[in-house]
């Protein structure tokens, strides 16, 4: 019967340890991005993201623990003569860069390159998209998500000249909330 004396307190302690992480969940928050066309140095596309427009984020911001999954989704069409790699760059505040050189010099690359062959239209797969996030970009996103929830995204090509368009674009974030 000696064993009975410790096993009940041990179970209680274990449940108490688990209790603080019991009220938690992983919630998908998605932002529809406008359709756009990006061309070398003549059509730089920037999108302001404000997570506070999403009620799930706004209501549970204080309980936010982590960014556990993310994806840039949509249908990408390459109008260029050669293959391109589409990249997404980020700034934590609103900026007005007008060419891809300024963007790559001052912003943080968060995603890409997503390769689209000349003249092709390709829908990005969620699994592939999740793999295309950079470590530094993900870190900056986490910082902003835990901060004011506002940031700016730029979409550019990784070639000297590019011309691509994106439709049905979505930024999907899976956020971990816990009380």
């Amino acid at each position: 019967m000696k064993a009975n004396k410790w096993i009940v307190p041990a179970l209680v302690l274990m449940l108490a340890a688990a209790g603080c992480i019991l009220v938690s969940g992983q919630f998908l928050i998605d932002f529809d991005l406008p359709n756009f066309q990006a061309q070398t140095n003549s059509s730089i596309v920037a999108e302001d993201i404000d997570l506070n427009t999403e009620s799930d984020y706004k209501d549970h911001k204080d309980d936010l623990q982590d960014l556990v999954d993310l994806a840039v989704l949509g249908k990408f069409t390459n109008h260029s003569g050669g293959a391109i790699g589409v990249e997404v760059w980020m700034t934590p505040t609103t900026t007005n860069y007008t060419n891809s050189t300024d963007i790559s010099n001052h912003a943080t690359k968060v995603w890409g390159p997503f390769v689209v062959l000349a003249g092709a239209t390709k829908t990005v797969d969620w699994n592939e998209s999740a793999s295309l996030f950079t470590k530094s970009g993900k870190q900056l996103l986490i910082q902003e998500i835990k901060g004011d929830g506002q940031f700016q995204l730029y979409a550019i090509g990784n070639t000297t000249t590019y011309d691509f368009s994106v439709s049905n674009g979505v930024l999907a974030l899976v956020l971990d909330f816990a009380k």
């Binding site: 041990a10 992480i21 982590d66």
Partner: protein, 179 residues
């Protein structure tokens, strides 16, 4: 460190179990795992191995190993349907039960346990953390050596200050090696 402690605990349980056991069995089980409040993964299957060791008529410890294949999650975003790959999981640990799950007759028993779990999928950082189980089991022994096991458990894998939670429903067969 935690991994070493769990392995040491398993070894200790096996050693003390074999020395003082009033009953030892070996069982296989399989079933379904349902994610709780997780938007990025769907229900899947699990299977595993358990070795119940009855230390006294009231206390049984049970080293276990499990493997799971959680389901892909479909989400419609921006007008297109995307599929996010589910986690592949592996875990091992030690359960404790009040009563014995093996032997003739019908046995209801509460079960709680601790283990080490690894969840992996494309494009996500691996979750390699400690987890907890708590649930209820039913053993139905139709013969002295073979017992049907039905179990419902809450499995909670700790991720920082949050967790991934699953409701597991399993069935299996346990063969009694001793007595």
């Amino acid at each position: 460190m935690r991994k070493s402690l769990i392995i040491a605990g398993l070894a200790l349980a096996m050693a003390t179990g074999s020395a003082h056991a009033t009953g030892v069995g070996v069982g296989v089980y399989g079933g379904l795992a349902y994610p709780i409040v997780q938007d990025d993964v769907d229900s899947g299957t699990l299977l595993g191995l358990r070795v119940p060791v009855s230390l006294t008529p009231l206390i049984t410890v049970e080293p276990f190993y499990m493997s799971s294949a959680l389901g892909d999650k479909d989400q419609t975003l921006g007008g297109l349907t995307y599929t996010r790959e589910g986690f592949d999981g592996k875990g091992y640990g030690l359960n404790a039960m009040l009563g014995s799950p093996i032997g003739m007759g019908v046995h209801f028993y509460p079960v709680a346990g601790i283990g080490k779990y690894k969840l992996e999928r494309t494009g996500s950082e691996d979750i390699d953390e400690v987890g907890y189980n708590i649930g209820l089991g039913l053993g139905v022994g139709a013969t002295p050596k073979m017992t049907l096991q039905l179990r419902g458990e809450l499995n909670l894998v700790k991720t920082g200050d949050s967790s991934r939670k699953f409701a597991n429903v399993t069935g299996g067969l346990t063969y009694s090696l001793m007595p």
